[in-house]
């Protein structure tokens, strides 16, 4: 037997469930999963890795769209999988497509911003796509497969 330096894969998964606290963490009112939301942003907006919290600035507006976006379906808990003694991946993907039904969004948008509405609207991730407009129609974002190789959110050691 031999020891191997590594970040423990179980820890990666536990980061996604707020099991560890190296600093000052919010006091949770419940042990259930938080509520995550998905907001759409105009192509002219500035949403990126430095975004820390949801803001209506640059968000789309139009018939059928409510500021703040829609709730993300989260029926599948994060998972983590070892790929070797030194590598592994924690991952999570919404368990259903994100859908904005019967909306009219006439100004081009190209970004969906995922944030935690339970924890003061703190930022999670930014995903971009080709610019779109919607006219009396439906905009659907289909999620990638919830696997170590393709999940929407992945924290990995290599």
């Amino acid at each position: 037997m031999a020891n191997t330096q590594a970040m423990c894969t179980s820890f990666l998964g536990e980061v996604l469930t707020a099991t560890h606290n190296f600093g000052v963490a919010p006091i949770r009112a419940a042990t259930t999963a938080d509520t995550f939301k998905a907001a759409l942003y105009l192509a002219s907006a500035t949403i990126n890795a430095s975004t820390t919290v949801y803001s209506a600035t640059g968000e789309v507006s139009g018939t059928g769209y409510s500021a703040g976006g829609v709730t993300v379906t989260n029926a599948t808990a994060p998972a983590s999988t070892n790929t070797s003694t030194t590598a592994g991946t924690a991952y999570w993907t919404p368990s259903a497509s994100i859908t904005y039904t019967t909306v009219t969004l006439t100004t081009a948008f190209d970004t969906v911003f995922i944030y935690n509405s339970t924890q003061s609207n703190k930022a999670v991730s930014v995903h971009t796509f080709g610019s779109q407009t919607i006219t009396a129609g439906t905009f659907t974002l289909t999620m990638p497969a919830n696997t170590t190789a393709a999940a929407l959110l992945r924290i990995a050691t290599t």
Partner: protein, 63 residues
């Protein structure tokens, strides 16, 4: 088929239908438009997100 439009629900046969696909490393997108006498009255889009690069974590060496 009935289509929701800016003019209310209309039968598809009354409208001009246009469709398109975008497929690249980031997304697979399909869109459909319905036009009535030169006016866009319906547009829907369906974006399938492909994978993002993972966040990389590392344990520092003490040697």
């Amino acid at each position: 088929m009935i289509v929701t439009t800016t003019k209310g629900d209309m039968d598809e046969s009354l409208l001009e239908k246009r469709e398109g696909v975008v497929n690249n490393e980031n997304e697979y997108t399909t869109w459909v438009e319905y036009w009535l006498e030169g006016e866009l009255v319906h547009r829907s889009a369906h974006v399938a997100l492909k994978k993002m690069p993972p966040i990389v974590a590392e344990a520092a060496s003490l040697t």
